[in-house]
């Protein structure tokens, strides 16, 4: 430990510098959080091979789609600086190595072995900065016969077994409606970087961490895998996966890897019956079921003796679910949630993105969405951290960078190059493609 009398840094990762070669979603989602925790994130970009800023399907209507107007890019890349640099030129390679020599962490999510081919593999970088924490985030990892395979979230989810565990019996897998493994791959990238940093600070030793998006998904199926390796029971079986239920009626009573085998345990339509007017209700015990019956106004059907036991409720789920839905359709999903929860019944609304941003009183209370100004996009809400650190709070402190916004600051300030060298680098294609139109802020930077 260092001297206790020194003033503690304001954020957990103050003083940590990350060279961020990542793009698209998983890698940038990782470094976004390291940035919120206080690390200086230097995003290395090149407009000719950009995938993340473009194509954009989240540019506000009325704005030109260009490298600086993707809403999703903005939310995914807050808290970072952007350095445009042609790493595939000898001059660019030399400059990035000088930057790495002054950095703590390198994160990249290129296809396996791309950076090695460019001369930026772990052995080279450890030669420049012996205690570097080097995190590779790729689809299948750098080790293993399929290291060259490529992924997008849905493909990693399919190959790893995640997709299979979601859906209704006798139907195709419903899977995940987004790249869950881009979000989660990003989590693992950040977790690996932090773990490597902690170990470095304790021992002085860096290392290479080979994280794979597809492989990271497999441990999320742990109990299903053990059911097979221990009990010999696979997931290809009648009644599985059981949709939102804990068990599908009329099939063998086997666990669902989500929670206890109980009923009711389902999604129900709510008033007024639009696309996202649904709630979920779960009763873990007889007592919770009796409370739900009370909340529903003790309708006659619910008093049937056959519903008084968990075995009876599991057997007669169709009747119970129909009865609950007849009631739930009379209430809005938030009113239903409040009534159930006030009585100690497990219920929640199905929430769309709009619901979360506008209607969720808990997220509002906790400050989950916070407006930030972006020079091209204007003022918009950005997602905050789901944890509050009492001494070093994580927070968004900068909108996503315009491409190359910090090139001068880094090249002249951090690396100590001259303004003439900066201008020469723009002319010779080191800091921006020589023949590509520059943004106005680049012209300002070069004056």
């Amino acid at each position: 430990m260092t001297d206790m009398k020194t003033t503690p840094p304001r954020r957990a990762l103050d003083g940590i510098r990350v060279v961020d070669f990542s793009w698209v979603r998983a890698g940038p989602w990782a470094t976004r959080w390291l940035g919120a925790l206080g690390a200086e994130i230097i995003k290395i970009e090149w407009p000719e091979s950009e995938r993340g800023r473009l194509p954009s399907s989240t540019t506000p209507k009325g704005l030109e789609v260009n490298l600086n107007t993707s809403g999703n890019f903005n939310d995914t890349n807050v808290n970072k600086k952007s350095l445009t640099l042609n790493v595939r030129s000898p001059r660019g390679l030399e400059i990035v190595k000088r930057l790495i020599a002054k950095s703590d962490v390198v994160i990249e999510n290129f296809s396996s072995r791309v950076l090695s081919k460019w001369g930026l593999g772990y052995p080279e970088l450890a030669g420049i900065k012996p205690d570097i924490v080097y995190v590779s985030m790729s689809g299948y990892g750098h080790t293993g016969r399929n290291h060259h395979y490529t992924t997008f979230g849905p493909v990693a989810q399919a190959a790893s077994g995640l997709t299979f565990l979601s859906g209704l019996p006798e139907k195709p897998p419903a899977g995940w409606g987004w790249s869950y493994m881009d979000d989660t791959g990003g989590m693992y990238g950040a977790m690996c970087a932090l773990t490597g940093l902690y170990h470095r600070n304790m021992t002085g030793k860096g290392q290479h961490i080979d994280q794979s998006q597809m492989v990271s998904a497999v441990p999320l199926n742990g109990p299903a895998l053990l059911d097979f390796t221990v009990n010999g029971r696979g997931s290809r079986r009648a009644g599985f996966p059981p949709g939102n239920r804990a068990h599908w009626p009329g099939t063998p009573l086997v666990g669902n890897y989500r929670g206890p085998t109980v009923a009711p345990h389902n999604a129900y339509r709510t008033h007024p019956g639009d696309y996202n007017d649904w709630c979920v209700i779960v009763c873990h015990s007889d007592e919770e079921w009796h409370r739900l019956v009370g909340v529903m106004g003790s309708p006659g059907w619910a008093g049937a003796e056959t519903f008084a036991t968990v075995a009876g409720r599991l057997e007669h789920q169709e009747a119970i679910d129909a009865g609950i839905e007849a009631w739930s359709l009379t209430l809005g999903k938030y009113e239903l949630t409040e009534r159930c929860q006030a009585a100690g019944v497990r219920a929640m609304p199905v929430q769309s993105a709009e619901d979360r941003v506008e209607n969720d009183p808990q997220l509002r209370h906790r400050g989950m969405y916070f407006e930030m100004e972006h020079p091209a996009l204007g003022r918009h809400k950005v997602q905050n951290a789901p944890f509050k650190l009492s001494e070093t709070p994580a927070f968004n402190h900068a909108a996503s960078p315009m491409i190359g916004e910090h090139t001068r600051e880094i090249v002249e300030g951090l690396l100590g190059m001259s303004h003439e060298e900066l201008r020469a680098g723009f002319d010779d294609g080191t800091f921006w493609p020589a023949k590509r139109a520059r943004f106005a802020y680049m012209e300002d930077m070069l004056r």
Binding site: K171, M202, D210, L226, Q341, M348, V350, S352, S390
Partner: protein
């Protein structure tokens, strides 16, 4: 035990006390498999998660829950009623030597026992304590009851997952399976704990972390929030593929062996891609018309999208086994995969090459079982399971007598009083 004698994990030397049910045990497993000494503190009689099925040979027993086994690898386990005077005292003694406390109890419970962060940190300024709870320590929903399904609803996962009308008419939103609310919360909690620990290496000081599972879930729907914030869009649920503002072409196709293949084709169709598709079809002897010169034109390809996807790609996949298509397609640069059931993964050569599967001994049973391993390979400090989950109270003697200095007689008295 799995190779406990070789190099230590990156968190070696770190001690974590875990007061956690299903909400926090995964975060604790990550810490433990990465080398921390995690002491799981269960109520006498065992944590509720010992009652989670499936069970070994379908015989329910606190030491036979496969879910408990999986989520508690590499930990040591003791029993302690922290709400008793003796239990509280022993917990405080353990807390003095702890680096991290991870707890998932109802907000306010630990404070009511005098075991809140302020009290525990008085004797341990470097303590990092993380409360991982459904909604955090404050707010109108703070005391709401939850379950994985409830988090998948409120967090926004369900609004994005479900079926095309053609696949399942009138289907509800479908919550992803597998208990992922606890994974999402655990990932963010792990991140926060490690950030606090990194900070502690510089400042010497610990801190308190208030982490919310609901917020973690609400953050885990990729671009859904941006689609709303920047475009005002509500997204459609579609079978096995991305939510979208409007319907997009299907990506899941049934193969000859009854397994689906996830083939991302739409949005990628250009003359080069069509040529590569033709070569893939040719390699399997599958008849097609893609050699027609008209397919050198992007506009003609766009007009034939439905033919290429619904006739050719679907027909090709239907005529061969999923796994063969997956590997042949990936070898040619297609981002495709078989939609595998978890058990199919045991045959995966790539995972075998990475040493992913771990054999974990259960000495009390005289048996060993294969467990899934780690998400990443650390070249300096291994991430791996060091032992099976603890039996109920397995380390009571080792920790209460060996570390805290209780006599066997005192231990017996505490057991008789239901303190341990």
């Amino acid at each position: 035990m799995t190779d406990t004698h070789s190099a230590a994990g990156p968190l070696a030397g770190l001690r974590d006390l875990e007061l956690a049910d299903e909400k926090g045990q995964f975060c604790g497993k990550l810490l433990a498999d990465l080398g921390a000494d995690v002491i799981k503190i269960e109520p006498p009689g065992g944590e509720a998660t010992r009652r989670a099925g499936p069970f070994l040979d379908d015989i329910p027993h606190p030491d036979r829950s496969l879910s408990f086994w999986y989520y508690n690898t590499s930990k040591r386990g003791i029993t302690l009623a922290i709400e008793t005077a003796d239990g509280g005292r022993l917990f405080r003694e353990l807390a003095i030597g702890a680096d991290v406390i991870l707890e998932t109890s109802k907000p306010g419970r630990l404070a009511s026992l005098g075991l809140d962060y302020e009290a525990l940190a008085r004797g341990n300024a470097g303590l990092v304590m993380c409360a991982l709870t459904p909604f955090g320590q404050d707010g109108p929903w703070r005391d709401y009851a939850t379950a994985d399904l409830l988090h998948m609803a409120a967090g926004g996962e369900m609004a994005s997952c479900g079926y095309d009308e053609a696949d399942a008419p009138n289907a509800p939103p479908i919550a992803p399976g597998g208990g992922n609310a606890w994974h999402m919360g655990g990932h963010f909690a792990y991140m926060a704990i490690m950030a606090a620990l990194v900070h502690r290496t510089v400042s010497g000081r610990g801190q308190y972390i208030d982490a919310s599972i609901h917020e973690a879930c609400a953050l885990t729907t990729e671009s859904a929030i941006a689609n709303y914030v920047y475009r005002g869009e509500t997204l459609l649920r579609q079978t096995g593929r991305h939510h979208a503002p409007g319907p997009s072409p299907r990506t899941q196709f049934l193969a000859k062996d009854g397994t689906y293949v996830c083939a991302l084709v739409a949005g990628r169709l250009n003359p080069k891609y069509v040529q590569e598709l033709a070569a893939l079809f040719d390699a399997f002897g599958f008849a097609h018309d893609l050699a027609d010169p008209k397919y050198r034109d992007a506009k003609a390809i766009a007009e034939a999208t439905s033919h290429i996807i619904d006739d050719l790609v679907a027909g090709f996949i239907a005529s061969h086994p999923a796994e063969a298509i997956y590997h042949a397609a990936q070898d040619r640069g297609f981002t495709w995969a078989a939609v595998r059931a978890p058990e199919d993964l045991l045959d995966d050569g790539h995972l075998r090459d990475r040493g992913f599967w771990k054999t974990v001994e259960h000495p009390e049973l005289g048996r060993s079982f294969v467990y899934p391993g780690e998400a990443a390979i650390y070249n300096g400090t291994p991430w791996r399971i060091s032992r099976r989950a603890p039996l109920l109270g397995e380390h009571n003697v080792e920790i209460f007598c060996g570390e805290l200095g209780l006599s066997r007689g005192e231990l017996s008295v505490l057991a008789e009083s239901r303190v341990i």
